[in-house]
């Protein structure tokens, strides 16, 4: 279906001027591997290059939407780089282009871009990795919830075989983070609230700056449970055994395998059974048909 390929290319070219230049400089290389007819390739090349730039605010509008989901991560990045271009570079990254060409999620591609920037040392704040992972977990929950709909906890069968499969219900997730991730997030949110009172204050030399964030503490872990709440995805602290049991159910798994893996991870067998029952009853775990 090459018209789909062309549409994906149009999106990439509308967002990324560097890609437009690459397509014109060496079409064979820039468009390699894509299912395109000669005529479609010629049509793309015949478009006046200036036309691709007609919407000067396109990147910023999209960035605003992405930043809404990753507001703490992006604040940390911007506080460090003091460069909007550091985030706009997303639209020229392989993460963006792959997401478009493969019909992936832009939001999740953006989280990969932020994580990659941290790994490559483009932003060095030690808090960034866990903050991105946490915001990505929330973004992921929103998407599964929107895609699959909320699961309503119903009556469970009287007996459940250990060969039955379970998984986390749509919109639920768990994660382990460095101990100070929540205080760091709260501090950034407090800063964002302050500047939101008068956004133009960002222009002032004496505008509030992001204060130093709580140090990363990897000696302790914060185990978090994500689930649909009254106003979006809410976070709850859980204990380590509950985290280790629920972690196994990120994908469908037979109960006997879940219990076995939890045991290997150090969870007492009886406690694992209790956790399994509790979370099946409250609807965070569901039986998979």
């Amino acid at each position: 279906m090459s018209h789909h390929t062309v549409q994906n290319l149009v999106v990439r070219m509308l967002f990324d001027e560097a890609f437009v230049e690459a397509v014109h400089a060496d079409p064979g290389r820039a468009l390699a591997g894509l299912e395109l007819t000669e005529a479609e390739r010629d049509q793309l090349l015949r478009v006046d290059r200036r036309a691709w730039r007609h919407d000067a605010l396109r990147r910023k509008r999209t960035l605003r939407t992405l930043v809404e989901e990753f507001k703490v991560s992006t604040t940390i990045v911007l506080a460090e780089t003091r460069s909007l271009a550091s985030l706009e570079h997303f639209f020229s990254s392989s993460f963006f282009h792959r997401a478009i060409q493969e019909r992936g999620s832009l939001g999740m591609a953006f989280s990969d871009f932020l994580l990659d920037g941290g790994k490559r040392g483009e932003w060095k704040a030690p808090q960034i990795e866990d903050v991105v992972r946490l915001e990505a977990a929330i973004a992921g929950c929103r998407r599964t919830l929107a895609r699959e709909g909320e699961h309503e906890a119903g009556d469970l069968p009287a007996t459940i075989s250990d060969r039955s499969r379970v998984r986390l219900a749509p919109g639920y997730d768990v994660g382990a983070f460095q101990a100070n991730v929540i205080p760091a997030i709260q501090q950034v949110e407090q800063y964002l609230f302050e500047v939101s009172l008068m956004p133009a204050m960002a222009l002032c030399d004496d505008a509030p700056r992001l204060p130093a964030l709580p140090l990363v503490d990897r000696t302790k872990k914060s185990f978090l449970f994500f689930g649909p709440g009254a106003s979006g995805i809410s976070l709850t602290n859980i204990d380590k055994p509950a985290y280790l049991v629920l972690l196994q159910a990120k994908r469908p798994i037979e109960i006997r395998n879940l219990l076995s893996r939890a045991g290997v991870a150090g969870v007492n067998a009886r406690r694992a059974q209790e956790i399994l029952s509790e979370w099946l009853e409250n609807g965070a775990l569901v039986l998979v048909e």
Binding site: H3, L44, V47, A51, L66, I100, S105, L106
Partner: protein, 293 residues
């Protein structure tokens, strides 16, 4: 299923209407206010909706007064088969039913790239080729079959159109294959003709005008980027001359036309009264009156 020619006879004449979107009354026109103050100018409300935002109080109030509506979708890629899912169809049908919409309509092409997710929204025209037209037709047939409603594809605006077909030939193919009605946006057609450096009426002679059930009229603005000229679909109060020319050429030949929407809801009502008056002159709510003249 009966043919379009038979089905269209059951559609009521809606006259001239106003477009609107979620919470538009907060920053633009409130259709109920307009109806109350200028009852002869606006006769129906075309509500632009997506499943994320749903209906607003303005359209609910209008519909509660048993006034006619149409449902303009803003969140489906007709050109992309895999975007049409049972959930979207069911939810859209439910929203349209809630406001008593006479039909569904919307720009054919893409409302988002890839997934229907936040950040993916961007209106794009279809690739103007036969393969895409067939896929669009298939989507329309499915939506009409599963909702039991007319689904009128609209020619979208753009600065860049790709494909070897003229946009009117593309939509003629869609209509023939799907045996559906059409929504002809005169302002968008003027934009297309400008991008191809063609006179405004090019392609209309061979276009199946008897399938045009609804037309749109809106203001446009000449703009340029580094000297590259294009028309922005700005929905300002004054339509371009080319838009009026297209409308006036099509009107006498659009034998099944039921509605004209003036897309001007973001402006002050007073700025748009002349446009509404002219449209009502051209397309009165009561056909008999028109014939009598």
């Amino acid at each position: 299923m009966t043919t379009f020619a038979k089905r269209v006879k059951c559609l009521p004449r809606l006259g001239v209407g106003l477009s609107g979107e979620f919470n538009v009354a907060a920053k633009g026109m409130d259709v109920s206010w307009l109806k109350e103050h200028y009852p002869a100018l606006v006769h129906f409300y075309e509500y632009g909706a997506d499943l994320d935002r749903g209906l607003d109080d303005g359209v609910r109030r209008w519909a509660a007064a048993c006034r006619p509506t149409t449902y303009h979708f803003l969140d489906i890629n007709l050109e992309e088969r895999m975007d049409i899912d049972r959930h979207w169809i069911a939810q859209t049908k439910a929203l349209a039913a809630e406001i008593g919409a006479t039909w569904l309509c919307g720009d054919a092409g893409r409302w988002h790239f890839g997934l229907r997710e936040r950040g993916h929204g961007m209106l794009m025209p279809p690739i103007l080729c036969r393969e895409s037209a067939m896929e669009t037709a298939e989507s329309i047939m499915r939506i009409e079959a599963e909702t039991g409603m007319f689904c009128l594809p609209e020619n979208p605006p753009a600065v860049i159109y790709l494909g070897d077909l003229h946009i009117l030939d593309y939509f003629a193919l869609v209509a023939e294959r799907a045996d559906c009605g059409l929504l002809l946006d005169c302002a968008h057609l003027a934009i297309f003709q400008q991008t191809r450096d063609l006179p405004p009426l090019t392609g209309l002679d061979n276009f199946p005008l008897d399938r045009v059930v609804e037309m749109h009229v809106a203001g446009g603005t000449h703009a340029d980027v580094e000297g590259y000229a294009y028309i922005e679909d700005s929905h300002t109060p004054e339509p371009l001359a080319a838009t009026w020319e297209i409308l006036e050429c099509v009107l006498p030949r659009a034998t099944n036309l039921r509605a004209i929407v003036f897309e001007c809801e973001q402006n002050a009502p007073e700025e748009c009264l002349a446009g509404f008056a002219r449209l009502n002159e051209l397309f009165p709510i009561k056909k008999e009156k028109a014939n009598a003249r």
